[in-house]
Symmetry: C2
């Protein structure tokens, strides 16, 4: 078995003070993984010369491939490019293709061509330039002692564009490796301990080249089987067999047999059935609609959402009776029931979902304990309502309510308790 081991080094003070969440590493790891390249370490360091050099030394001693992001911009805090030039013993030269691209960009954006920008056309003569169609800082590909080092800008869409256009195709040519395959099972309604007990014997019987991981999230647990082997066809069969056996054992809680988010599971069902969905969202503030519309082609089934953050919108746009809110409060079974029925009618849909609640720690002001949320799902015949208590802060409660909302829709259409 030949394993290609990779490290990712992300550079930037903003990562170390927590100002920015690193999404680049996850994207890179996913893509390398699909090619059978194993990311074994990810390291983040600041914009400090010694720290960067040390990380390079260390990761190059462990991995055959090191991918570096960040520090390639035109400002004084960007020190990666000259540092790499020195590290690999090159000298800086102007790359004419990059220069032409920069000038063209500046003209297109109607901006003067500053000397500072022109600096970005300088690259170490010991690297292969990876074109950055989306921005001004080019990517760089170095080789040393049979190892590959790729440097990329930290701006996510620039990094993605360079890797898709040039980085990944070149890596594919350069490295061949064992197959690395995954299978997933998405479950809802039970915790990881429950599942682990149920499938104990199946888990223990897995061969050593197949691993099982549990990933718990809001009301759901994702199971991931990972296998590695020289024979991709045989490995795929082994993994599918294990997935089928586990899924059969916990059949009643299985949501999907692929690693897709719940919004994707919902889109698949609604599009298959040719049914439509609409929402009335108060406390989630549009977040359920935002999730549903992340899926391409959502308009085939999703008509829209009335984000009725203020009570007057619940009344005037959705038609909740003023008396209902006055008597029972905005956060009540009565109000959420009128909201879901109103959404069915106003949006003219087959299925509707409604949610109203108080996510903050000062819920008492609204006549309900903090974190109280009422939800409802309905079709023309049936209305299901449910009350939740979310114990966290505003943002976490909002995310949790959004996930539990989509789960409630899923349970409704699948007749699950």
């Amino acid at each position: 078995m030949s394993n290609i081991a990779a490290s990712i080094i992300t550079i930037g003070d903003e990562l170390l003070i927590g100002q920015v969440i690193d999404t680049n590493s996850a994207w890179i790891a996913q893509r390398l993984n699909r090619m059978g390249i194993d990311v074994q370490r990810r390291v983040a360091v600041g914009d400090e010369r010694a720290a960067i050099v040390h990380a390079l030394d260390e990761e190059l001693s462990k991995s055959s491939l090191v991918i570096i992001t960040g520090g390639l911009g035109p400002t004084a805090d960007d020190i990666t490019k000259p540092l790499l030039n020195e590290y690999f013993g090159g000298k800086m030269i102007v790359d004419e293709r990059v220069l032409a691209h920069l000038k063209e960009m500046m003209i297109r954006r109607n901006r003067p061509v500053l000397e500072r920008n022109m600096k970005q056309a300088e690259v170490p003569d010991v690297c292969t330039v990876l074109t950055n169609k989306m921005g001004s800082a080019p990517g760089m590909w170095f080789e040393k002692d049979g190892k590959v080092i790729i440097a990329l800008p930290g701006v996510p869409f620039e990094m993605v564009s360079i890797m898709e256009d040039e980085g990944l195709p070149r890596l594919k040519e350069r490295f061949t490796s064992d197959a690395l395959l995954h299978r997933s099972i998405i479950t809802a309604g039970e915790g990881e301990s429950y599942i682990a007990e149920k499938i104990k014997d199946l888990e223990e019987a897995l061969p050593t080249h197949i691993r099982l991981a549990y990933l718990p999230g809001a009301g759901m647990v994702r199971l991931r089987l990972t296998g590695r082997g020289g024979d991709a066809v045989q490995l795929a069969e082994e993994l599918s067999a294990a997935q089928t056996a586990i899924a059969a054992r916990i059949e009643n809680i299985v949501v999907a047999l692929e690693d897709i988010p719940l919004e994707h599971v919902l889109a698949n069902w609604f599009r298959k059935e040719g049914k439509t969905l609409g929402l009335a969202e108060s406390c989630t503030g549009g977040n359920v609609a935002h999730h549903l519309t992340q899926i391409k082609g959502a308009s085939e089934y999703f008509k829209g959402s009335i984000v009725c953050y203020r009570n007057e919108i619940k009344e005037h746009v959705i038609g909740v009776a003023t008396a209902t809110i006055e008597q029972h409060g905005a956060i009540s079974e009565e109000t959420v029931t009128e909201m879901v029925k109103g959404a069915l009618k106003v949006l003219d849909v087959d299925y509707a979902y409604a949610v109203t609640g108080i996510l903050d720690s000062d819920g008492e002001l609204y006549g309900a304990p903090s974190g109280t949320v009422w939800m409802a799902v309905a079709d023309k015949e049936r209305v299901d309502t449910k009350k939740f208590y979310f114990p966290f802060d505003r943002l976490r409660n909002k995310d949790m309510a959004t996930s539990m909302g989509m789960l409630m829709i899923w349970k409704f259409i699948n007749n699950r308790p």
Copy 2:
């Protein structure tokens, strides 16, 4: 100057295959930073014994504080706890307080008490237990050769709860350090090269203990000044002086003098002015509303959003004329103008924002090039419209449109071009 250097080690295969984006590190880094503790390295490794031990050795050789997240759960892929027990030469004992908490949790959740769960009450006798009110895996505090090691579960809200309740207060007692302070300037409308040229002399004149970083994002650049020093009062004065001088130089593009997101800047303005805002969102699918409602107290000014994903909702709920869509298309200046006027009326607000576009790569199907987005902002007197082209994929275009939309509202209310 005394610097406390810290490392964060995150454990879990899901981080290395890119299945999960690591938000824990950013949160921990932020909180340590506020206390003057410098995170100098972040390392992610898989659920592999040798990799974890190696990372521990390495980070303990570099940092006085090492924070570990992940691998504390009850399933077979969670190996951190026994490994730490061995690493620090302890033996596993049952912690009665954790056991009682576990039993109480299981009863509250109406779940049987499994032996597997009870295992979670076992902790190394060489650690101090940090209570996990939100879950079953306790946090652990180890000391070795004057260094502190904290192990936390990887589930974000459990990690946060343990750190807030016990981790951070204990760290505050344990470490004293230099002040580490930040000042920010948020700008819109120019790139980082433009800003760097404008403030070149000011940047060069900064003392060595103050650093300036540029953080570019959709249409905006955030500048961050970071200073470190023994005298917090003096440092604060120096930083504020530098911030004032830079902000004065680029006055025309300054959005805010604190590191807050645009939705917060908008909330501040609307609440101060006592004005209301409403939205009509098509292609952003509720994402603008979702952003605005991330801010506590948003209901003081934000009434709601009509997420009119399908044309029939644009017509029936917002009142866009069928003829307008038929003649000019759903993605047109005429349609977005009727949307914004409709939102002003239907939601009865002082200001409204509307957006309609095609984010996918198959825009041609809708009679507009892919990435074409029309936006409008209006009050009772005035309507501004603008056409954008976003060049990325669906999800990035959606985020970009959301940011540019909030920026367009900000420009409208501040009379910026």
